[in-house]
Symmetry: C2
Subunit: 255 residues, 2 copies
């Protein structure tokens, strides 16, 4: 349990790894490790078995190397996670030909970010803490800013728009992943879980308290098993957020 950024953090060291300021140093003996190979292996492990299965021992093992060999290239697990995250940012799609103005572009960005979270759910846990200024994060930021450039917003507003939209994507992704994790961890489906909790809930709800919660919760639960769900929450919320942004843009245009 944690995810904290432990110990002293040396920015220079971290950034050096992020930006790969280093000679290849090709030696033939041994497993022939490298930051790239380590990061690749780590991402594969996290994708396949979840971030809890990502241990330094496991990474070394996956590369046919000893545990401590990993530390030759990466100062610690924290920095490894940093590089993993930045690497994923680098693999995102960044189409330049999105038609439809700022709204369509923001939608496209939101969807691509959601796709990333779905493909690498552990990102939601790894991203915690401060942003790590890796090269791909910068590229991502630059690209995404392009969606809201030149439509009358000032710099701080552009940044705020992005923060808002990406924050929404994160929230939605988290909700969606929670459902999936729930099933995998407890071994029961969402429906089964609902079933097992239902008696208790009914008991306490029909005791008179929480009338609204009982009704709406049931309605949401019902719909949950049917058509509604995190997917719809993402779409619905995204449209609300974009509507809200459009108000500001309209104001700026009017002024």
């Amino acid at each position: 349990m944690s995810n904290a950024r432990k110990g002293r953090v040396d920015p220079a060291r971290s950034l050096a790894i992020l930006w790969r300021t280093r000679e290849p140093a090709s030696r033939s003996a041994g497993p022939g490790l490298s930051v790239d190979r380590i990061v690749r292996a780590a991402i594969e492990i996290a994708d396949a078995e979840g971030i809890d299965a990502l241990t330094m021992r496991r990474v070394g093992e996956a590369l046919g190397a000893g545990t401590m060999s990993v530390y030759t290239y990466v100062p610690g697990k924290t920095e490894l996670l940093d590089v993993m995250v930045d690497t994923l940012y680098g693999e995102m799609s960044r189409p330049v030909d999105v038609p439809g103005g700022w709204r369509a572009r923001l939608e496209s960005i939101a969807r691509e970010n959601l796709r990333l979270y779905r493909a690498h759910p552990w990102l939601l846990r790894a991203e915690t803490s401060r942003p790590v200024l890796g090269p791909h994060l910068l590229a991502k930021y630059d690209y995404e800013l392009g969606a809201v450039a030149g439509i009358g917003l000032d710099d701080v507003e552009m940044d705020a728009v992005l923060t808002l939209v990406l924050g929404h994507v994160r929230s939605a992704a988290r909700a969606e992943l929670d459902v999936v994790n729930l099933e995998r961890e407890t071994g029961m489906t969402d429906g089964q879980w609902w079933q097992s909790h239902a008696p208790w809930l009914e008991h306490f709800m029909k005791s008179g308290s929480y009338p609204t919660a009982a009704r709406v919760g049931t309605a949401a639960g019902q719909a949950h098993g049917a058509a509604y769900g995190p997917e719809h929450a993402f779409e619905w919320g995204l449209q609300r957020v974009l509507d809200g942004i459009s108000v500001v843009i309209a104001e700026r245009r009017g002024a």
Copy 2:
């Protein structure tokens, strides 16, 4: 590193603890533990020293008891966290006399949730995973639904509105806390950190790539040290979100 819900989870057991379905069982000898005392102590530790300092050994110690004594009342750390979270929900302010309609009430709710995150930053890490249906979560949900009841939205929409608003609060709180954590963990202030990274950034940005990111990032950074910041991101985003919601409500009213 984790926060996962480990092992088999017995809903009945968890719920029993959440709802305190248990006799007081007052014994005079020993430290005289109880779920409440344990939870109280755990919350104090997490508040004062962060969630990483919250270990079962530490909890026992704080109560003048042995580590394993804690397990007499709580099945494991997971459940302890569950109860801690639900306990906090129970301590939230829920004014009934908020004037100004749904918008003012949602604003009030958002602010109260932000206050909670600020008072107990570890909540952001503990809340992960599925919602635990404790009594206070239900009360909270019921109360918050009241803000958007009777204004033309259907049940699923009411739930969606809440999800959206609370998700925004979470995002904003996370951003805000990241800044604070950054300072505590690295021992340097936001400004110092910016300073130490600046050379690198300038170097790579002035190399021609990422022109927009460079400009906006700098602008945001400047403002960051000055007036702008997470606080403003929260307020600005909240108004956007509420604007977006008002569009839907207006539609429903018109129809």
